[in-house]
């Protein structure tokens, strides 16, 4: 347990974290909130350095300096479009650090003069929990990173994966019990890490692109819980409070994401495939009913409108179309056409992905509308411009009770007068089903890369 002196400063740091997080809930106060949290972290680190005795300053300076250089380099050089990868990577590092600290704490009871844990049964249980969650977070996040980066593309799923995972989970718990009972035998520690690593990989492996926002939110929560568990190991309230705050916020964000996909958390986490579709085959749905259009035609339609709603999806991120979208928005606004953005909660690969990209292109956040506020507006919208989004605008979710995505909340773009869908091909989205929006009477398809298409529309509007 830290001294009273340290405890007092840890309390101040905790309050700074809480006020900082509260600041993050409003765009105006968010930058200050982040700085307050960072100040809390600095205070916590200084408190630890000042109050703990016999620290090895050489190791500390080396660790802090090299970590800071790598962290700054990653934070500055990463493009906004790659933000999901970076968040996954950082989540993994946090989880990995917690795993290592818990491991070191157990090792310290072996041959060291100072032990980091008190040796009671609870401290070993906490270490086991910290190792399990930390390892799952680290390996799960690394795989999520690889998937987002495009290194590992195909979701891996096979019949019986659930059973294998269940078996692994059982072995993991058993191993943890043995480790806690015989803390002197390091082989069980190694076995526990190995099992948790495989379990983390199996947890993320079956998850494909569009379920990524849920996974990232879950791993975010886990990285907090791992830090909290490490706090129990070291008897340190600072770690417990901060870890718990992050664990809670990640859980809530996860719930928001799941609700937006109409899937239960267990289904996403267990990698359960969506319900098999009934009857609808791509060829039958699309045959002869697709109306392909050109940039010139879209420009003509746009010229005589009063309100345009742009609906971005992952396709906008892939083609880096946000700057072209900004130019188009400004061009339309100069002609007194109102431009709004309708953003689905799970558009993109992480929560809020589209908002970050549009903010990067200097599009003011009050033009970005969430699902609940934009849906009533589609009735009075002349043109909805869908850029690289698919399942989140599929009216089947509303109309066809047999559809695998039935009941999923969608953006009702089909209710606007005209819908223009910019998409490279008719390939299906994450649900693997045809989109009845594409064959609707009021829909025009513009088959092109997002950025190229928007630039062509801009050129046509200008001429």
């Amino acid at each position: 347990m830290p001294s009273d002196f340290a405890q007092f400063f840890y309390l101040i740091a905790s309050v700074l974290f809480i006020i900082g997080l509260k600041g993050l809930t409003r765009p105006r106060t968010a930058p200050r909130g982040n700085i307050l949290s960072a100040a809390g972290m600095l205070l916590a680190v200084i408190t630890a350095l000042v109050s703990e005795t016999n620290l090895n300053w050489g190791y500390i300076i080396f660790g802090l300096a090299s970590g800071a250089v790598i962290g700054l380099w990653l934070a500055y050089k990463t493009q906004m479009a790659s933000m999901p990868q970076l968040v996954a990577l950082f989540n993994g590092f946090g989880g990995g650090a917690s795993l290592l600290v818990a491991t070191v704490a157990i090792l310290s009871t072996q041959r060291s003069e100072v032990a980091l844990l008190d040796g009671g049964v609870f401290s070993y249980i906490a270490a086991a929990v910290s190792i399990i969650i930390g390892t799952i977070t680290f390996f799960g996040s690394m795989l999520a990173f690889a998937k987002l980066q495009g290194i590992s593309r195909q979701p891996l799923n096979f019949k019986g994966l659930q059973i294998v995972k269940g078996l692994f989970f059982g072995c993991m718990l058993l191993c943890a019990v043995v480790m806690v009972t015989f803390p002197g035998k390091l082989i069980w520690l190694i076995a526990l890490i190995a099992l948790s690593a495989l379990f983390g990989i199996m947890l993320v492996a079956p998850i494909g692109g569009a379920n990524m926002p849920v996974v990232i939110a879950v791993l975010n929560s886990y990285s907090g819980l791992a830090a909290g568990a490490t706090g129990f190991v070291l008897d340190n309230t600072m770690l417990i409070i901060a870890g718990s705050l992050v664990g809670a916020s990640g859980m809530l964000l996860t719930r928001v994401m799941c609700k937006a996909m109409n899937r239960s958390l267990t289904h996403v986490l267990l990698g359960k495939p969506m319900a098999k579709m009934t009857g609808l085959h791509q060829e039958e749905v699309y045959a002869g009913k697709i109306k392909s259009t050109s940039a010139e035609e879209v420009a003509m339609v746009l010229e005589s409108t009063r309100r345009v709603v742009i609906v971005p999806g992952f396709g906008m991120a892939v083609s880096q179309a946000q700057f072209a979208v900004r130019d188009l928005t400004q061009l339309l606004e100069r002609r007194n056409i109102e431009v709004l953005f309708g953003i689905h909660p799970v558009a993109g690969r992480m929560p809020g992905h589209m908002n970050v990209l549009l903010a990067e292109a200097d599009i003011s956040y009050d033009k970005l509308k969430d699902m609940d506020s934009i849906n009533p507006i589609f009735d009075q919208t002349d043109v909805s411009l869908v850029i690289g989004a698919n399942d989140v605008v599929n009216p089947d979710a509303r109309q066809n009770p047999d559809s695998p995505i039935a009941g999923m909340p969608i953006l009702n773009v089909d209710r606007s007068k005209t819908v223009v869908v910019i998409k490279r091909s008719l390939s299906p989205g994450f649900a693997g089903i045809p989109n009845t929006l594409f064959v609707a009477d009021n829909t025009l398809m513009l088959f092109d890369d997002g950025k190229a298409a928007i630039n062509a529309i801009i050129a046509a509007l200008k001429s």
């Binding site: 974290f17 997080l21 992050v246």
Partner: protein, 92 residues
């Protein structure tokens, strides 16, 4: 360790975290995630304390590695969040 006291703190902090976060607008979901992620780097405190050990050498190596990982998490997380939030400044 006083497990009951620590659990009390953990659970109450969890409720505080949940209470603050419920009202967050979707626009800020990404900065919220990367910001909270930086806070989860608090495990850095544990990593720093681990340098008390002078043996076994495996523990020392892992301890230093944990400082590096946690610092990347903390510094990178706060800086990238700051970078993102500055883009959300109101444009007139």
């Amino acid at each position: 360790m006083d497990i009951a006291l620590l659990l009390t703190i953990f659970i109450l902090a969890f409720f505080v975290g949940a209470e603050i976060i419920t009202k967050i607008p979707p626009t800020l979901h990404t900065p919220l995630m990367s910001g909270t992620n930086a806070i989860s780097g608090i495990t850095l405190i544990g990593a720093l304390i681990s340098t008390k050990l002078n043996s076994p050498s495996l523990a020392i190596v892992l301890g230093v590695l944990s400082i590096v990982l946690a610092t990347i998490n903390v510094v990178g997380g706060f800086v990238v969040t700051n970078r993102m939030l500055h883009m959300f400044r109101k444009k007139d």
